[in-house]
Symmetry: C2
Subunit: 130 residues, 2 copies
Amino acid sequence: MARAATTSDAFNAVAEPRRREILNYLAMRERPVGEIVNLMGLEQPSVSKHLRVLLEVGLVNVRRDGRRMLYRTNAEAIRPLHEWTETFARYWRHQLSRVKERAEGKSNPSNDLEPDFRPRRKDDYGGNKN
Amino acid sequence: MARAATTSDAFNAVAEPRRREILNYLAMRERPVGEIVNLMGLEQPSVSKHLRVLLEVGLVNVRRDGRRMLYRTNAEAIRPLHEWTETFARYWRHQLSRVKERAEGKSNPSNDLEPDFRPRRKDDYGGNKN
DNA sequence: TTGACATATTCCCATATGGGTATGTAATGT
DNA sequence: ACATTACATACCCATATGGGAATATGTCAA
């Protein structure tokens, strides 16, 4: 199996930075595709494809206006993400105290391998690479 | 270019449902890898690989305990996601009124192609497929 | 040292990608 | 009907994937 489709849900759709950018643009007001193409330095087809993904997961709406298609962010669809992250809020509010303690000096010399994890390999032990 | 690496940021890392599941498990308390393997129906190597991704983007911490590795969610790293979604909160709070209006009957008969977008293709017009 | 246990890493492969280029299609103007 | 504008799709390709199986590494115990 490969990675899940970007259209499988909002989480996958917003994983792409470009799409988050688009959602930001389209949140304040609806815009035609061409305008987004100008705002971002991307080719029109790429923008259209991103919009398609966003549309499929319901993150944007469209409306036709003559030959233009006016897209707009459907904020409602972002709510599930907000709610999922919200369930962790109580934890980071708790962890604040712990993080502060640590910053104040009680570093744990050798235990606690933290933000940069461990060496991938102790040495080049000659496993057949590639 | 292909899709961005899952390790490029928290957004990409949490796009994978399994990883969100893991984050949920590890939020309440730290757990050894084996326990996660049992909780989810996955092989140990897969779990380790997911944990690696989460570790690289700082979504979890590790601590060694004998031969076991105890992982735990670092809620702090989820905050950026929470904040990004939060910027849309004011929009969905606004849109509520609009959505209600629509539900109450003023449907826009033919304009407004909405949650199911348009036909991909009018007919099979014989472009050389594959 | 040897063995067992707990994890991590490597190797495999099918699949979905995002970008660009080329082309199809819909709506408008003349 | 024809040209033009505004998008959408098709096609190509390099790349990163997630899963399983096999294997390596690290730690403790006897």
